[in-house]
């Protein structure tokens, strides 16, 4: 039997590709520090957990396709706090950010259309594009300038008659880059002139450092019918397993179309929505604490990296990832070697080779992404192992 072309072409997760090597290391009794995935270790707030404990309906029933009204009303309140005035009809609750991006692509692109995405980008955008039959046109950004948004000229060069949207995450995964108001205004100008949608993935909104404030695509004026925002509670409240996200646009016609896709799959999970609902009123103090914790970790990782000769790494201002360009040829080979050959006191560290985050062949081969999702002591040890391993690897090769 013949599989579909898209089933053959869709990218296997490059992040999970090294998992068997980690499993083997563990089987040999080696402790592996995981800097390779974005699973935070921060405790999920009690407000969320309590909802599961106290659910006492008799029937675990379907909710509405657009999400529970109560939760959408709470989200209106949440976004209000972030200076985004919205109506409940501007919001459709989704099964995590993943489904929100799939809906955005399905509603804005025909099969064969193109979406511009600054690279390196979240690898699952490839999978979503395969599902929607959309081609990703990469807009290359560079470690040397902290993966800043390229010039208008460079962006416009990527536009063809098939381009329907620009998709980006802000703050960026895997880059940690933060697009400021000025960047978003540049994108808005281009979107208006070239009739493009802007799909802004803002799941790391709360993770912005150095006193910067986050600018949402919904803060930009006069692009109501171009701006689509994608969000998720996964990172915000360390609730990745709840699978609750949303898609937001003030364009009523677009939202009505997206509702039809949402109706096909009936609804997002019910109790998880109630849990997400309880999180909306968590006090700001929670985020101040969490942000301090991540900022401390960011500094640990960044300072350790600075001690390695020949690396390129501008300190990122958002999310909880750092991409580092290393003075080696093949970061995947290095990552495997760390799992197969290296250990110090029976410990090693796992990280993500960055090539999988690029769509342009050959780019990112000497880069790795480090997710700083471990506590201070574990992270210090992991970064020591990273440095020691890299030194040994470079001496051997």
């Amino acid at each position: 039997m013949e599989l579909s072309k898209r089933a053959i072409d869709i990218q296997a997760s490059p992040i999970r590709k090294l998992a068997p090597y980690a499993d083997e290391a563990k089987a040999k009794g080696i402790h592996v520090y995981h800097l390779n995935i974005g699973q935070p270790d921060i405790e999920t707030p009690k407000e969320i957990m309590d909802v599961y404990k106290h659910f006492d309906e008799k029937v675990l029933s379907y909710g509405p396709s657009q999400g529970l009204l109560k939760y959408r009303q709470s989200l209106v309140r949440y976004y209000e706090k972030h200076n985004m005035p919205l109506k409940t009809d501007d919001i459709i609750v989704t099964t995590a950010g993943s489904e929100a991006i799939i809906f955005a692509l399905l509603a804005t692109c025909n099969a064969g259309d193109e979406v511009i995405v600054p690279e390196p980008f979240y690898t699952n955008y490839n999978g979503f594009a395969s599902i929607a039959g959309v081609h990703i046109k990469p807009l290359t950004t560079y470690a040397e300038d902290g993966f800043a948004l390229p010039s208008n000229e460079k962006i416009i060069e990527c536009i063809t008659d098939k381009t329907k949207a620009i998709l980006f995450s802000n703050p960026g995964n895997p880059t940690g880059a933060v697009y400021l108001k000025n960047d978003l205004e540049r994108l808005a100008d281009i979107a208006l002139k070239h009739n493009l949608y802007l799909i802004s993935d803002e799941v790391y909104r709360e993770f912005v450092y150095d006193g910067l404030s986050h600018t949402s695509i919904l803060h930009i004026n006069e692009i109501e019918d171009h701006a689509i925002m994608v969000d998720s509670i996964s990172k915000r409240y360390s609730a990745c397993g709840a699978r609750i996200g949303c898609i937001i646009s003030r364009d009523r016609v677009l939202m009505q179309a997206i509702l039809k896709f949402a109706q096909a799959r009936l609804c997002p999970p019910t109790i998880d929505q109630l849990a997400a609902n309880a999180a909306v009123d968590i006090e700001d103090a929670y985020f101040i604490d969490v942000l301090q914790e991540y900022d401390k970790r960011r500094n640990i990782v960044y300072n350790e990296i600075q001690q390695i000769e020949g690396v390129v790494c501008v300190k990122p201002e958002g999310a909880f990832y750092i991409i580092v360009k290393l003075p080696i040829d093949d970061a995947e080979d290095f990552a495997k070697w760390m799992l197969e050959e290296f250990s110090d006191n029976n410990e090693t560290v796992m990280f993500a080779p960055a090539e999988g985050f690029y769509a342009t062949p050959g780019l990112g081969r000497n880069e790795v992404r480090l997710a700083y999702i471990l506590n201070e002591n574990a992270l210090k040890r992991a970064m020591f192992l990273f440095r020691k391993g890299l030194q040994e690897y470079m001496e051997k090769k």
Copy 2:
């Protein structure tokens, strides 16, 4: 801004289309009995609810893309009980049956390919087909013979060089028809001869009456690389809001491809999977009780229908739906009239016009689907209202 063609073309839920009329009736103080949707009123088992209450991990984290190993092991045990020997790798847990069908279509069909579906069919198949860019070729079945599977000749007539699969639900929603072993063997023969996948939606497996036993597509021999089974806990345990389903095939290459789609969306909801896991060992006595309850309801609805002159309705043997062909021209008009004009003692009844379940234009216009998901007394009252309303409607028109 221009939406995608698929966003314009995708069908709005025909079942939800009448909701505004029901809301208006309710606003006027009229009680509406809902026979229009498949939301069971049966209590969700305590085994499931207790999992939510007792979840005590500190972090609500991602699970594996193929689903929690523990849950897949439990599913192997569940299917073993139903005479389907499986390995954990044959199973990928999905966000409800909806996602499972989308994955099946994405993996077996290219955009533009065709899938044969016996009509009337679950309307959301239209939405899934739109998402996957697949065309549904309807294979018409008839109220007069209980929506039995048509002859091989009729099925083969639907096959073109673009046909990749036959998708069907067994027991059938909205027909209640049950395909027996002989039917599935006919489909298997055709699938083998014409190189087609068989996508069998078996979410109503436990709801088979009159002492019949359910035959799964996985019971049929020698079609390991043609058979795809889609399942869900929504109806089985009255847990629609958990959004847990799965996709099963013994074809390893197919499952590896589907895993790539699954990796893109990371994972199904974590606690809901644990809840589903606890349900696997619910004793058979539970299903005997539930089945008796539904059987009683089936008889109430069927017996009431038999008292209406001029209807066509063969007693269905599965699921919890009955399609009735009425001696009127326009069942949607009747359904609206019941909500807008009719009431008896301030009560009325809502049901689904069947036209939306057909892909062939014009078919099903004089048919309705009744979901028998209310308790005995409510159902008797609802059916009384249905009969009384129909009589008045026919006298007025």
